[in-house]
C-alpha cells in the first residue's frame, strides 16, 4: 500500500494545469479529492509519473445560477453540494444523491468534478447528471467545449474527455418547479458503491406525466440513461402498468457484472426495484 515515486505539481491557474497536462500526457494524472486515485496509487494499479493537484484552483469552486442552468465548479466538494441552499431549492436530487455517497469524511474531500470525470461506473453523480441532462464543461489547449453527460461515458474509465482536457464545471438545466425526484440506492453498507441505483426526475400535469427521465448507477460499464424507461411513463398517469413498463425497460438495458454484491440476475432484479421505488417516491413529491 505504498505508491510509486511521482513528481508533484500544484498549478495556480487552470491554464497552468492544462499546460501541465499537455506536457506530461499519459504520464500525468490530475488529482482533485483523490478518493479514487490515491487508493489505486497505493495498490500501484495507477502509477502516474506526474500528479497535478487542482486544490489551489479556487476558480473551479462554487455553485452559481447561470441563466436557466446552475453551474457547479468541478472542485466543489460533495459536502458543499449536499449543504447548498440553492441546490436544495432548485435541484434537490443532488442533495439526496450526495448524501448517499460514502461517508462525511469522504464527502468533505471528494469533488463533484472528480466524481463525474473519473468514469468509474460505481460513482453516483454521473447517472444523476444524465438524469438531469447536465453538461460537462471541458477546457483544453484548443479552448472550451461542452459535452452532455448522456454522451460523455464510453466504457469503464473511458470518457469523451481528451487527455489534455480538464472538466472545469458541470452545467445543470434547472428542472421545472414542482418536479418530482428521487435517487434510490441499494448498498451493503455506508461507503459502498451501489448494488444498483436509480435517479428519477419527472413532472406531472393534470394527473398525467409530462416528462420523465431515468438513469442508472453501477449496473453497466457506464452510467446508463434509461431513455425508454422514462418514455414509458410520459403521457401516463404513472399507474401500475406504466411503472411496470418503465421497470422492464430499465432492466432491459442493465448489464451488471456478478460481484460480491450479488449475481447478475439479482443486480438486474434490484435495478428494477430501485427504479420502481424511485418513480413512486418522485411521484409523491411531484404531486405535493
Amino acid at each position: 500500500m505504498i505508491p510509486g515515486a511521482f513528481e508533484y505539481h500544484r498549478p495556480t491557474s487552470v491554464d497552468e494545469a492544462i499546460a501541465l497536462m499537455s506536457q506530461h500526457g499519459d504520464e500525468g494524472r490530475v488529482i482533485a479529492g483523490g478518493h479514487s486515485l490515491i487508493p489505486m496509487m497505493k495498490l500501484r494499479l495507477a502509477e502516474p509519473g506526474h500528479l497535478i493537484d487542482l486544490r489551489d484552483l479556487d476558480s473551479l469552486r462554487g455553485i452559481q445560477p447561470a441563466g436557466r442552468c446552475i453551474e457547479i465548479g468541478a472542485m466543489t466538494t460533495q459536502q458543499e453540494v449536499a449543504v447548498s441552499e440553492l441546490l436544495a431549492e432548485a435541484c434537490p436530487i443532488l442533495r439526496e444523491a450526495a448524501l448517499l455517497i460514502a461517508d462525511p469524511q469522504v464527502r468533505y474531500c471528494g469533488t463533484l468534478g472528480g466524481n463525474v470525470a473519473n468514469g468509474d461506473p460505481g460513482n453516483d453523480m454521473p447517472a444523476v447528471m444524465q438524469c438531469l441532462d447536465a453538461s460537462f464543461v471541458l477546457r483544453g489547449p484548443q479552448g472550451e467545449r461542452e459535452v452532455r453527460a448522456r454522451d460523455f461515458y464510453e466504457a469503464a474509465y473511458f470518457t469523451a474527455r481528451a487527455e489534455d482536457e480538464l472538466v472545469t464545471a458541470v452545467s445543470i438545466p434547472i428542472p421545472p418547479a414542482g418536479h418530482g425526484y428521487a435517487y434510490e440506492k441499494l448498498k451493503r453498507k455506508v461507503g459502498d458503491y451501489a448494488t444498483a441505483a436509480a435517479a428519477v426526475v419527472l413532472t406531472m400535469s393534470g394527473g398525467s406525466c409530462e416528462s420523465a427521465s431515468i438513469a442508472l448507477t453501477n449496473v453497466g460499464q457506464t452510467p446508463l440513461f434509461a431513455e425508454a424507461a422514462g418514455q414509458a411513463l410520459v403521457g401516463t398517469k404513472v399507474d401500475e402498468a406504466a411503472v411496470a413498463r418503465a421497470v422492464e425497460a430499465a432492466k432491459d438495458i442493465a448489464e451488471p457484472v456478478a460481484d460480491m454484491r450479488g449475481p447478475e440476475e439479482y443486480r438486474t432484479h434490484v435495478t428494477g426495484v430501485m427504479v420502481r421505488r424511485a418513480v413512486e417516491r418522485a411521484l409523491t413529491r411531484a404531486r405535493a
Binding site: L186, K189, V190, M260, G262
Partner: protein, 801 residues
C-alpha cells in the same frame, strides 16, 4: 491504630472500586487521546522495514526467483528467499497443530498472496519498489478450493512435502490432501438412538470462511543486540510468552536471550495467536543486518494471509421422540484448513472444543467426526472471538434445534425449555464428557421471553404472514466453554494452559500486578485491578496492571478463548490471598493479638470484638518493610500459577427480531435482546461493552462477512470494499440483560464473557432470518445472509417479485 472517625464501611468499599463496580476503563484515557503505543508506533534507532513479495497464484511451482534488480533498487538492503533461509533451517516453521508451514515459499506456492520473498529496505517506499522489482517465474498448477474435491481420488496432491507421511501431527491421514480424522462420542449408542427415533432431522450447514479482521493488523519489530546477543521482539501477540518459547525453539536462540514485548494491541479476536512468516523474516533480517526490522502487514495482507476462522462444512443430525425430546446428535465436519494445518487450538484438540456441540441440552448420545483437509487457501482456523471452535458447535446445535422444532411442530422457545439441562443437574456431565460447572437455562430464557413479550411477537408475526410480509424471530440459548484450561485437557506445545499473576505491594500501600495474559482491548488494566482491590483492600486506582513483557511478567498462555478472567483472574485472586495471609500475620504482630483474633473488613484486619483496633492494608504494607514478626521475611509479594480445575461455562439467551424486504432481500434487525450469565460480574460496564462488541461482530458474520475464492484460487472480498465491517449506521441497537450463576470452582465465581455474544449472536441472527421463511417450509439458509442470498430464497419461493 486506625482513626475510627474516618469513612464508613460502605464508603470505604466504594472507594476501593472493586468487584461489581461499573467504573470507566483506566486504559481509555490514553486510547481516546490517541496516546496508545501500538507496534507501528515503535520506532527504534536505525530501524529498517521489510515486506513480502506475494504469490499471485494459488497453486504454482516456483521455477526461479531473480532478486538482482530488487537488490539494485536504491535503499533496498536485502532480499530473502527460501534459499537464503534454508541453511538456517528457517524456510519452514512448525505450526501449533503439529504441521509445518512455509516461511517463504519453498519450490511451490500453496495459496494466493503466500509469502515468496522478503525485501528489507531503508524505508517503506524502497521496500515497495524492491518488491516490484523481484522477478518470480511461476508454473501454475491445478487449484483446489473445495475440500470435497480435495478428497477426490484423482485430486492433485497439494502438499508434496508431506506426501507419504501417514500423520502430520493430529492423527492418521487417509488421502494426500487429508490432515486428520477426529472422532468422539459413542457411535453405536448414537446409531441405535437414530434407528429407533420417532423423528430425525438432517441439515447441511456451512459456516463460511471469515476473518477476525482486527482494526490493527499484525506486525512486529525485531531487534537484535549483536553485542549482548539478545533479541527483542515487539509484536501484536495475544500470547507473548508462548511466542518467546516458539521463537527459541524455531530460531535456536536460548530463551533467556529473547525478550518479547506485546505493546498496546488494537484487537486480536484470535488473529494474533499464531506465528507468522513476517515474525521469522523480521527476526532473520535483524540478525543479518544488525539493525531493527519492522514488518507491519496491510489490510489486504491481513484478510488474505494471516489466520482466518471457520470454513466448516457441517452435516448435523438430530434424533428425537415424537414430543421433540432430543435423544441423539450426530455431526460430521469437513474442515477446510487451507494450505497448512496452522489452526490455533490446544494441541490435543484437532477440532478444538467442538464437542461442546450438545449445547445447553441434555442429550443422551452423541457422535462427532471431523476431517481436516488441505486446500489452496491461506492457513488458519482460529477461534474468531470464541473459545476454540465453540461458535461452530453452537451454531450447529442452535440451528438444528430450530430445524427439529419446525419438523415436530413445536415452538422454538418451547423445544429449548423441553430439552435444557435442568438446574438440579449441575454440575452436569455431558455425554461427550464435559462437566458443566453451573447454569440455569430455564430462568435465563424465560426472563428474555417475558422481556420481549414473546407471545405478542409471535402473534404479530402471524398477522404479518397473513399479509405476505416476512418477519422472523430468532432464539439462541447457547452454552460456552471458556477458560482453557485444565492442564489435564489442554496444552500448547506441551505447556499446560495455566496462567499467572505476580503482585508486589509497595511500602506506601499501592501495588503493581503483572499477569501472563495480554489485553487487546478487553480492559484488563481495569478489571484485574478491581479483582485485586476487593481481594486486597487496596483501591483499584492504586494498582498498576502490566502485561505483555516477557522479561517482567510471569509466564502465561495469553488472552484468547475468554480465558483471562477464568484463568489469570483466578491467579490474581489466589496471589492476592497469599498476600492477605501474610498480611494477617503482620497485622497480628502490629496489633499484638493472635491471627485467629483478626477478621477482615473491606480494607483492613480488625480485632474481633474491638472494632477500633485495626490495621489497614496500607499500614500493613508499610510494616511489611520495617515492622515484621520474628522469622517472617520482609516484603509483601506473591505469585500464583493457576491451573484451573475445570473450564467455566457461561451461557445466555438471545432473541432477535428481523423484518425482511422480500424484493431486495435486505434484512432489518428490529430488535435484539441479549441476556448473558457470566457468573460473578466484575465490571458491568466492561461486560456491556464486551457484549456490544461481540454482538456487532456476530451481526457482521451472520449478515455479511465471507472470504470466497474463485475456481483458480483468487481470494474474493479481501478488502474493506467488500469485507463487511459494520459501522454505527448498520449496527442494530442492543438491549442487554443478565442473570448471575457463579462458577462454583472459580475463586471469585467469575466466568468469561467477551466471546459469548459472538457465539450466541451468530445463531440468533441466522435463526431469525430462517424463521422469517419457516412458514414457507424453509428449514435452513446459508450464511452470510446478504441481500442477494436472501432474495434468492425469496425468488425460489416465488415471492421475490
Amino acid at each position: 491504630m486506625t482513626d475510627a472517625t474516618e469513612m464508613t464501611q460502605e464508603e470505604r468499599e466504594a472507594t476501593l472500586g472493586g468487584i461489581g463496580c461499573a467504573r470507566k476503563r483506566k486504559e481509555d484515557i490514553r486510547f481516546i487521546q490517541g496516546k496508545g503505543n501500538y507496534v507501528d508506533d515503535v520506532k527504534l534507532p536505525g530501524q529498517v522495514f521489510g515486506d513480502f513479495v506475494r504469490s499471485p497464484y494459488a497453486h504454482a511451482r516456483i521455477k526461479s526467483i531473480d532478486t538482482e534488480a530488487a537488490k539494485a533498487v536504491p535503499g533496498v538492503l536485502a532480499v530473502l528467499t527460501a534459499a537464503d533461509l534454508k541453511p538456517l533451517n528457517l524456510h519452514w516453521m512448525p505450526t501449533l497443530a503439529g504441521d509445518t508451514q512455509a516461511v517463504l515459499a519453498d519450490e511451490k506456492v500453496h495459496f494466493q498472496n503466500q509469502e515468496v520473498a522478503f525485501v528489507i529496505g531503508e524505508d517503506r517506499y524502497a521496500v515497495s519498489d524492491g518488491i516490484q522489482a523481484v522477478e518470480v517465474d511461476y508454473e501454475d498448477l491445478p487449484v483446489l478450493v473445495d475440500p470435497k474435491q480435495a478428497l477426490a481420488e484423482d485430486a492433485p496432491v497439494l502438499r508434496e512435502d508431506v506426501e507419504g507421511k501417514d500423520n502430520v501431527g493430529q492423527g492418521l491421514r487417509t488421502h494426500p490432501n487429508h490432515i486428520f480424522t477426529w472422532d468422539v462420542g459413542d457411535k453405536d449408542a448414537t446409531e441405535k438412538a437414530f434407528s429407533s427415533a420417532a423423528v430425525t432431522v438432517k441439515e447441511e450447514i456451512f459456516y463460511q470462511r471469515v476473518h477476525p479482521c482486527p482494526l490493527e493488523p499484525c506486525g512486529c519489530v525485531a531487534s537484535m543486540d549483536p553485542i549482548k546477543g539478545e533479541l527483542t521482539l515487539y509484536g501484536t501477540f495475544q500470547a507473548p510468552h508462548v511466542v518467546r518459547t516458539v521463537v527459541s525453539l524455531i530460531a535456536g536462540l536460548p530463551e533467556h536471550k529473547i525478550r518479547v514485548i506485546a505493546p498496546d494491541i488494537g484487537g486480536g479476536f484470535g488473529n494474533k495467536v499464531g506465528a507468522y512468516p513476517g515474525y521469522v523474516c523480521a527476526t532473520v533480517g535483524t540478525i543479518v543486518l544488525g539493525r531493527p526490522v519492522k514488518w507491519v502487514e496491510g489490510r489486504i495482507d491481513n484478510l488474505s494471509t494471516t489466520a482466518f476462522a471457520r470454513d466448516y462444512h457441517m452435516t448435523g443430525e438430530l434424533a428425537a421422540d415424537s414430543h421433540g425430546r432430543i435423544t441423539a446428535i450426530r455431526v460430521h465436519v469437513l474442515a477446510d484448513h487451507g494450505a497448512f494445518n496452522a489452526h490455533a487450538q490446544p494441541t490435543k484438540w484437532p477440532a478444538g472444543l467442538f464437542s461442546i456441540v450438545t449445547g445447553s441440552y441434555d442429550i443422551p448420545a452423541a457422535h462427532i467426526e471431523v476431517d481436516g483437509v488441505y486446500t489452496n487457501k491461506a492457513p488458519g482456523g482460529v477461534a474468531y472471538r470464541c473459545s476454540f471452535r465453540v461458535t461452530e458447535a453452537s451454531y450447529l446445535i442452535e440451528r438444528m434445534v430450530d430445524v427439529l422444532a419446525q419438523k415436530v411442530g413445536l415452538d422454538k422457545a418451547e423445544i429449548r425449555l423441553k430439552n435444557f439441562v435442568t438446574p438440579e443437574q449441575f454440575p452436569y456431565t455431558s455425554c461427550l464428557d464435559w462437566e458443566y460447572d453451573s447454569g440455569d437455562y430455564h430462568t435465563a430464557l424465560n426472563k428474555v421471553l417475558e422481556a420481549v413479550d414473546y407471545r405478542g411477537l409471535r402473534r404479530e408475526q402471524e398477522e404479518k404472514r397473513r399479509n405476505g410480509e416476512l418477519m422472523g424471530i430468532g432464539i439462541a440459548t447457547f452454552t460456552e466453554i471458556v477458560g482453557a484450561g485444565p492442564s489435564r485437557n489442554c496444552d500448547i506445545l506441551g505447556i499446560g494452559m495455566f496462567d499467572s499473576c505476580e503482585i508486589r505491594i509497595h511500602p506506601t500501600g499501592s501495588a503493581i500486578a503483572r499477569l501472563g495474559t495480554k489485553s487487546q482491548g478487553q480492559g484488563h488494566e481495569t478489571t484485574y485491578a478491581q479483582i485485586l482491590a476487593t481481594e486486597l483492600g487496596i483501591p483499584s486506582d492504586d494498582i498498576t496492571v502490566e502485561e505483555g513483557d516477557t522479561d517482567t511478567a510471569p509466564y502465561g498462555l495469553g488472552t484468547y478463548g475468554s480465558r483471562s478472567t477464568p484463568v489469570a483472574g483466578a491467579a490474581a485472586a489466589q496471589a492476592a490471598r497469599k498476600i492477605k495471609a501474610k498480611a494477617r500475620k503482620i497485622a497480628a504482630h502490629m496489633l499484638e493479638v493472635g491471627e485467629k483474633d483478626l477478621e477482615w473488613e473491606v480494607d483492613r484486619f480488625k480485632v474481633k470484638g474491638l472494632p477500633e483496633k485495626a490495621a489497614t492494608m496500607k499500614e500493613i504494607a508499610f510494616a511489611a518493610y520495617q515492622n515484621l514478626p520474628e522469622g517472617l521475611e520482609p516484603g509483601l509479594e506473591a505469585v500464583n500459577y493457576y491451573d484451573p480445575p475445570n473450564f467455566t461455562y457461561p451461557f445466555g439467551a438471545y432473541l432477535c427480531v428481523v423484518d425482511v424486504d422480500r424484493l431486495t432481500g435486505e434484512v432489518k434487525v428490529r430488535r435484539f435482546y441479549a441476556l448473558d450469565d457470566c457468573g460473578t460480574r466484575i465490571n458491568p460496564m466492561v461486560i456491556e461493552g464486551q457484549v456490544h462488541g461481540g454482538l456487532t461482530e456476530a451481526f457482521a458474520i451472520a449478515m455479511g462477512q465471507e472470504l470466497t475464492f474463485d475456481e483458480t484460487g483468487n481470494i474474493q472480498g479481501a478488502s474493506f470494499m467488500d469485507y463487511f465491517l459494520p459501522t454505527a449506521v448498520e449496527t442494530p441497537v442492543w438491549e442487554t440483560d443478565f442473570t448471575v450463576t457463579p462458577s462454583p470452582h472459580h475463586p471469585i465465581g467469575a466466568k468469561g464473557v467477551g466471546e459469548s455474544p459472538n457465539v450466541g449472536g451468530v445463531s440468533a441472527f441466522s435463526n431469525a432470518v430462517v424463521d422469517a421463511f419457516a412458514h414457507l417450509g424453509v428449514s435452513h439458509m446459508p450464511m452470510p445472509h446478504t441481500p442477494w442470498r436472501v432474495w434468492k430464497q425469496c425468488a425460489a419461493l416465488g415471492i421475490g417479485e
